[in-house]
């Protein structure tokens, strides 16, 4: 046997997840994504790459889009997390969710939770006038046109290639 490392270090944290206060004990090596999926059983956020390269794990962390696979759970103590499970208001889907359904903005569905959280974040960012890399005049309040949507949604890969539907859905939800 070769020498191993020390036993896992665990920590107690408190998160507000989809509006509910959740107390949990996490391995300090655990990502927020794994804490959500394996500890809280909230499997809506997906693991596509675990390296912040695909966006399938996108959640709203304190109101902003974040890759949950790149956030250590222990460092999020006290944070507010919204996952895809928290986008609807009870049985009523959010406008972004409705628009994805109407425009077939998904196929296999695995990137979809991340796309939906990302799109929800995009609408907020645009509403606040935040520019993107394709905004010509960063001091202006850019309209959320197709070029802006495509740019802002490009952190969320969809291998099925549902981008046409995704852009149409975000455009409609922005109205």
């Amino acid at each position: 046997m070769v020498s191993g490392s020390a036993p896992p270090v665990r920590a107690n944290i408190v998160l507000t997840v989809n509006g509910s206060l959740r107390r949990l004990t996490v391995d300090t090596r655990a990502s927020l994504l794994d804490a959500l999926r394996e500890t809280l059983g909230l499997t809506g956020a997906k693991k596509g790459c675990d390296h912040g390269q695909c966006g399938a794990c996108t959640v709203l962390l304190d109101g902003r889009r974040a890759n949950a696979c790149l956030a250590l759970a222990v460092a999020q103590d006290g944070s507010d997390v919204v996952t895809v499970e928290g986008l609807a208001d009870g049985e009523r889907l959010s406008p972004v969710q409705e628009a994805f359904l109407a425009h077939d903005g998904y196929q296999c569905g695995y990137c979809t939770p991340g796309q939906l959280c990302s799109a929800t974040g995009v609408l907020r960012e645009a509403a606040r006038g935040w520019p993107s890399a394709v905004t010509a005049d960063v001091a202006s309040e850019p309209p959320l046109d197709d070029a802006e949507i495509r740019e802002r949604m490009s952190g969320n890969l969809c291998r099925c290639g549902a981008y046409q539907g995704i852009v149409a859905a975000v455009r409609e939800a922005a109205r």
């Binding site: 191993g4 896992p8 596509g48 291998r159 099925c160 981008y163």
Partner: protein, 684 residues
């Protein structure tokens, strides 16, 4: 709207890794660090929470199957870098990962051979190529006819290793509910084939194995044949005596779940001055691994495309110390039609013909391969319809003359084809007492919309409202059905569902409930012989940036003749998805081989680029009405793959039209494009 749509947008849709299991343990696969060699020792760390280690030092008792990739831990020989050679099982995911990192593996590395070369001394002709097709076929005197042709194109193209990269990594939750009973939740394109394979490997009655896969996060061929993941999960669960979850990492996927082989292809086209083909020769070279022969059928599509009295198609492969290539969306057609359709564009220039006209002039009356009549063939209609929609009529054929600021703009066209298969399947339909219907079939929905389309088929046949029909799929316990692959899912499943519904209709007079089953094997065995293929045409407009060499697709149009389209929304999505993957193939996708370590080095999504939202402009898919009575109950051809076929050629042809430069190696990235533009004196 898709039937499972709401579940997918609320996060309720569960994928394999996401099912709860009591006392579950976590496995992590450990892969080789050398491309060729022997494992000398595997030493496990002392780590609290580590339950067990599996490796070739203690081979588990399993039976071999035809794919040696699944015969896990039976040999100490390493066949490629990234091969699964051990696994750890631990109490938590974090500990499993740490244990995998700490596992000490000693190798005796051997000299490796990893580079595909069209002159490799190890090249050989496989007995058959993928799909069971003949390795070599010839008619007439192709070489002589080519030599004697007034107009000739003799070109060699290269395509790189490409990776399926479904968004959901291959994953399995395995649970032994009794010593001889195995239940797995698994991410695959067909639960029955996984069930049968696991039963064989573990010596179980297939009835004692259940594979559950209601939602699958994409596959594109990589989940079509069982990969090592479900086998390893079941081994780990047996060793741990507990349910075990396993997912490969994104990085591990590049070596463990298949990819599209790189190819080198030479095409020779000989024609009369009016463009009529005298000779077509298509030779394809590809690689395979030491432990599994996979021979990409890159030249097979050429057997069905154009009329010529002299035709040769042949394949060679070489075994290298590389991961096993496998199916990736339209294996064969995708790399093969890229080359044939690029060469046809070159011939159009050589003959001074419009590329659409060239194709129309070479349209065959019967299948050039078999001589059989086509069940339907509407390639010319697709080309014409596409030309109308795309505005082809006013195209100036001259290359390199359309400058817009600091870019050059051009348009290109290419044909597409894919076999229209219908395979035997079983289905069961029940008329319930409340007037609803339940359809059961072991189909898979990997994002195709199978549930939705089968509901349409059943409702139509039963003359019922779709709301009254519930379709159960995604489990090997349901009536046997083929996988979602080869663009044959909907055709095969829908045919069986329609037949079962017809049988049920005949019984409905006898009161409720009633049940009927169908097995389409005999019917399909006895149907008349036709060449059954879908056809299509792709049109692209590209802009080439003279400062950076960056190529942007501005417009992309696909027009298809694929029998009856059963659901316009999901069909359109599938076509567009194939075209998007084709754009990735043209412009960015490539596994970069590291000759020092024998590894495809860019094995993650930061370095292996797939199209993102900003890469894909307004692209469009359309289809022509095609009534084909020789297919199946619906008159439908599969559509999962044809959307990618020929897209890279259309884009490459557009780039040539824009610049006058012919690129013959994919992908068309700025580092490849910019120096070539400069060499041709093209600057901003």
């Amino acid at each position: 709207m898709r039937i499972e749509g709401r579940a997918k947008v609320t996060g309720e849709a569960k994928y394999a890794y996401e099912y709860p299991a009591e006392d579950v343990a976590y496995a992590f696969a450990v892969t080789s660090d050398v491309a060729r060699g022997e494992v000398l020792s595997v030493r496990a760390p002392e780590l609290p929470g580590l339950i067990t280690v599996l490796s070739c030092m203690d081979p588990p008792d399993i039976a071999p199957v035809s794919d040696a990739e699944l015969h896990l831990f039976q040999s100490r020989t390493v066949s490629y870098r990234g091969q699964i050679i051990a696994a750890v099982v631990a109490e938590t995911l974090e500990t499993a990962r740490e244990a995998g990192r700490l596992l000490e593996i000693e190798y005796a590395p051997h000299e490796m051979d990893v580079e595909l070369d069209a002159d490799h001394p190890g090249l050989y002709r496989p007995e058959k190529v993928n799909g069971g097709f003949a390795t070599e076929l010839g008619s007439g005197e192709p070489a002589d006819a080519f030599a004697g042709s007034p107009v000739r194109v003799d070109v060699t193209y290269a395509t790189p290793a490409e990776y399926n990269n479904p968004m959901e990594p291959h994953a399995t939750l395995a649970e032994w509910t009794a010593p001889d009973r195995l239940v797995v939740h698994d991410s695959n394109q067909g639960s029955v084939v996984v069930r049968d394979t696991l039963a064989q490997i573990f010596g179980l009655d297939p009835e004692h194995v259940t594979v559950v896969s209601p939602h699958v996060g994409g596959g594109f061929g990589s989940k079509g044949t069982p990969r090592p993941v479900p086998v390893l999960a079941a081994l780990a669960a047996r060793a741990a005596g507990r349910p075990v979850k396993l997912a490969v990492t994104r990085q591990q996927m590049f070596a463990t779940v298949g990819y599209r082989t790189p190819t080198v292809q030479r095409v020779r086209l000989g024609a009369d001055p009016d463009g009529r083909l005298r000779a077509v020769l298509h030779e394809a070279v590809a690689q395979t691994s030491r432990i599994r022969e996979f021979a990409e059928q890159a030249a097979v599509a050429t057997r069905h495309m154009y009329r010529t009295p002299n035709l040769y198609t042949g394949h060679q492969v070489v075994r290298l110390d590389v991961p096993s290539p496998s199916w990736m969306r339209a294996p064969g057609e995708t790399p093969g039609m890229y080359v044939l359709e690029s060469a046809m564009d070159e011939l159009a220039y050589a003959a001074g013909l419009d590329p659409i006209e060239l194709r129309v002039r070479n349209e065959p009356e019967t299948d050039p391969d078999t001589g059989l009549p086509f069940s339907s063939r509407n390639l010319v209609a697709c080309l014409n319809e596409g030309a109308d929609r795309f505005g082809w009529a006013h195209r100036d054929p001259r290359p390199g003359v359309r400058r817009e600021g600091r870019t050059l703009v051009g348009t290109g066209v290419a044909a597409a084809t894919y076999p229209a298969m219908t395979m035997p399947a079983k289905a069961r339909v029940r008329a319930n007492e409340d007037g609803t219907f339940t359809v059961s079939i072991a189909a898979a929905d990997i994002g195709t919309g199978a549930r939705t389309v089968l509901t349409v088929v059943a409702a139509e046949t039963l003359k019922a409202e779709p709301d009254a029909v519930t379709v159960r799929i995604g489990s090997s316990d349901l009536p046997r059905a083929p996988l979602a692959g080869g663009s044959m899912g909907t055709a095969s499943w829908g045919h069986a569902v329609a037949r079962a519904c017809e049988a049920l209709l005949a019984k409905l007079g006898d009161g409720l409930p009633q049940e009927a089953e169908a097995d389409t094997a005999d019917e399909l065995k006895n149907r008349p012989q036709y060449a059954r293929h879908a056809f299509g045409a792709h049109f692209a407009e590209t802009a080439v940036d003279l400062d950076t060499g960056e190529i942007r697709v501005r417009r992309l149009l696909g027009v298809y003749a694929a029998g009856r389209i059963l659901n316009p929304q999901t069909a359109r999505s599938q076509f567009l998805g194939g075209m998007t993957m084709g754009a990735g193939m043209a412009l960015m996708e490539r596994g970069v081989l590291d000759l020092e370590f024998g590894d495809y080095l860019n094995h993650d999504l930061a370095q292996y680029h797939v199209p993102v939202c900003a890469d894909i402009p307004d692209i469009d898919a359309a289809w022509i009405e095609e009534a084909d009575p020789h297919l199946n109950a619906m008159g439908a051809k599969g559509i999962g793959e044809i959307g990618i076929v020929g897209v890279a050629a259309a884009i490459g042809n557009a780039v040539h039209h824009a610049t006058g430069v012919r690129f013959r190696e994919l992908p068309l990235t700025p580092p490849a494009v910019l120096p070539a533009l400069a060499a041709h004196g093209l600057t901003a």
